[in-house]
Symmetry: C2
Subunit: 324 residues, 2 copies
C-alpha cells in the first residue's frame, strides 16, 4: 500500500501538470493560481488511497482525484468572495487579486472542469460516480448556505451544527473515499461503509478543529488560538455554551459576543473561562469521540484484509491527534 | 411533428413541476424564482424539436431539455450579478431580491442541478451527451468573460466579436439541438450538422438583434430602441463604425462615446447618423445573411425527410424576420 505522503505527492505533481486554455486569460489564470496555492491535497489523496486499498490501479483514479481537488478549490474561490476573505494560506484571494466577477466566472468554469475530470472513468462506473459527485457537490453548497445563515441566528442547535459541518466538510471526504473505492473495484456495500467512515471521521475532525482553536498549543496549531472566539464564530463550543449558560453567565457571554469594546486577548480569556466553567470542552470531546467511534465501527464492517483496515485506523489516529 | 408553440408549452408546464428541496430556503427559493420569471423557453424547445424531427420520443428528451433551461437560468443569475442588473424581464434580479452571496451559491447549485437533469438519458448516450453539455457550458463562460473584457477595450475586431456571440449565445442553441437529435436517434453526422445549423443561426439571430436595437420598429421591438447606443455596448454596428470612421467622423463618434453631456435622444440620433453615413447596417445585413446561409447549407446536408427540413427552414425564417 502506498503511504499517504506518497499519494499527496502524486496529486501535487499531477496538479502542476493540469493545463487550461490560455484565452480568455482572466477565466483560466485564476484556476491555475488558486490550484498553485497548494494545501495538503488530502481529499484527492483519500480518493487514491481508497482505490489503492481495494487493489485498484491508482493511475485510473488520478483524474477523478484531480476532479475532487478542482471542485474543492472552486468552492474555496466562491466561499472567499462570500466571506470577503482577503487571504487564503497567506496568498491574495482571487476576487482581491482580480475582482469579484472574475472569481465568480472562473469558479463556474472550475466546477465544469471538475465534471470533465470526473468523467474520466470507465463507462460502467460513469453514472454511479457522477451521482456521488452530484450529491457531494450539492451537499457542500447546502453546508455553505447553512453556515452563512448561522451567522444571522442566535438559536442554532447542536444537531443543526453537526449537520452543517457534515455537509460543508465531511461529505467530500466520504464522497472521495467512495469514488476511489468503486474505481478500485470495491463492492457497493464496502464503498458505502468507507463513505460512512470518511463522513464520521470528517465530523470528528471538524469538532477537534473547534476544540484546538481554543485549547490547542499555540506552537503547534497552525492558526491563531482563539480566532473563532474573536470572530464570534458559531463553533460547537460556543453553541454548547449558549445552550448551557444561565443567569449571570448568559448575560456575560452575550455581552462578550455583542460588545466591541473588549480587546481580543481579554475576550479570548473571558470566553474561555466561561467555556471552562460550563465544561464545554468535555462535551465537545465526548461528541468528537462518538463520531470517531462511528467511523471505526464502519471501518470494522468493511470487507478488507486486516492490514488494510489497520492502515486506515492509523490514518484516522494520525488525523485525530495532530498538533495539540 | 409538434409545433414550436406546443414544445414551448410542454417545457413551461414541466418547469412549473420542477421541485427542489425546501431547506435551505435561500439556496433553493431563488432557483424556483428565476425559473418562474419565464421567457420563451426557446433553448429547451429546440432540444425537444430536434428529438421530434428525428423520430424520437419527446418525453425522453424532457429532462435534458429542462437541464438546458436550468443551465441557461444559472448563467442569467450569475451574469446579472456581474452586470449589476437590477431587473430581468421586469422582475427584480436574484442578487437584488436576496443578495449577491445568495445569487452566487444558488447559481452554483443550479449548475449541479443542470447536470443531474442532463444525466437522465439512456446509458449509451450518457458520456456523449455530457461531453456536449460540458463543451457548451465552458463556451458560454468563455463568451461571458470575453464580453466583459470587450467593455474595457477599444480595439475589438469584428471576428473577435463574432466569436464572442458564437460562444455566449450560439453554442447553447447548437448544443441543445445536437443533444436532442442524438436522443431522437440521429446519426452523429446529422446531429453535428444540426448543431452547425443552430450555431450559425444563433450568430445570425444575434446580429439581427444588434440591427433591430437601432433600426427596429419601436412598436414591435421588445426593448428600448437605441438602448445599445445609450450604453455604448460594443455591438457589430459600433465595432464596424469604429473600424470604418475616419477623420472628423472618428472624432465625432469617439466624442459621443466618451462624453456624458449628451442626452440620450440626441446621442441615439447622432450615432445612428454616423452609422448611416458609414453604411454599417448594410455590412451587418450582409454578415447576418452569410451566417443564415451557412445555417441553411448545413440544414440541406442533413439526412432528414424534406418536410422535416422545411419545418426547420420555416422555424429559421420565423426567427429571422421577427418584430421589425
Amino acid at each position: 500500500m502506498k503511504k499517504l505522503e506518497e499519494l499527496q505527492e502524486i496529486i501535487s505533481e499531477a496538479v502542476t501538470r493540469l493545463s487550461f486554455p490560455i484565452h480568455p486569460a482572466e477565466l483560466y489564470e485564476p484556476i491555475s493560481y488558486i490550484l498553485s496555492i497548494g494545501g495538503k491535497r488530502m481529499r484527492p489523496a483519500l480518493l487514491l488511497m481508497a482505490c489503492d486499498l481495494f487493489g485498484g490501479n491508482v493511475d485510473e483514479a488520478l483524474a477523478p482525484a484531480l476532479a475532487i481537488e478542482v471542485f474543492h478549490n472552486f468552492t474555496l474561490m466562491h466561499d472567499d468572495i462570500m466571506d470577503n476573505a482577503p487571504l487564503r494560506r497567506g496568498r491574495t484571494t482571487v476576487h482581491e487579486r482580480w475582482n469579484k466577477n472574475v472569481a465568480i466566472l472562473s469558479g463556474d468554469v472550475m466546477l465544469i472542469e471538475g465534471y470533465k475530470l470526473m468523467m474520466q472513468v470507465k463507462d460502467h462506473l460513469l453514472r454511479q460516480i457522477l451521482d456521488i459527485f452530484n450529491n457531494t457537490a450539492v451537499g457542500v453548497c447546502e453546508g455553505q448556505q447553512i453556515d452563512m445563515e448561522f451567522e444571522q441566528r442566535n438559536n442554532v442547535a447542536i444537531n443543526e451544527y453537526i449537520n452543517m459541518i457534515r455537509l460543508k466538510t465531511a461529505v467530500v471526504l466520504g464522497g472521495a473515499l467512495k469514488i476511489g473505492a468503486l474505481i478500485g473495484g470495491a463492492e457497493l456495500k464496502d464503498a458505502d461503509l468507507l463513505c460512512d467512515f470518511g463522513e464520521h471521521l470528517g465530523i470528528a475532525f471538524q469538532l477537534q478543529d473547534d476544540i484546538l482553536d481554543v485549547y490547542g498549543d499555540p506552537e503547534k496549531f497552525g492558526k491563531q488560538v482563539g480566532g473563532d472566539i474573536i470572530s464570534n464564530k458559531k463553533t460547537y463550543l460556543l453553541i454548547k455554551a449558549l445552550e448551557l449558560a444561565k443567569d449571570h453567565r448568559a448575560v456575560e457571554l452575550n455581552s462578550l459576543l455583542n460588545n466591541k469594546q473588549f480587546d481580543n486577548v481579554e475576550k479570548v480569556r473571558a470566553v474561555t473561562d466561561i467555556y471552562n466553567s460550563l465544561n464545554v470542552r468535555q462535551y465537545a470531546d465526548t461528541e468528537m469521540q462518538e463520531y470517531a467511534d462511528k467511523a471505526f465501527k464502519a471501518l470494522d464492517a468493511i470487507n478488507l484484509p486486516d492490514e488494510h483496515k489497520q492502515y486506515l485506523r492509523d490514518f484516522a489516529d494520525g488525523l485525530m491527534v495532530r498538533e495539540n
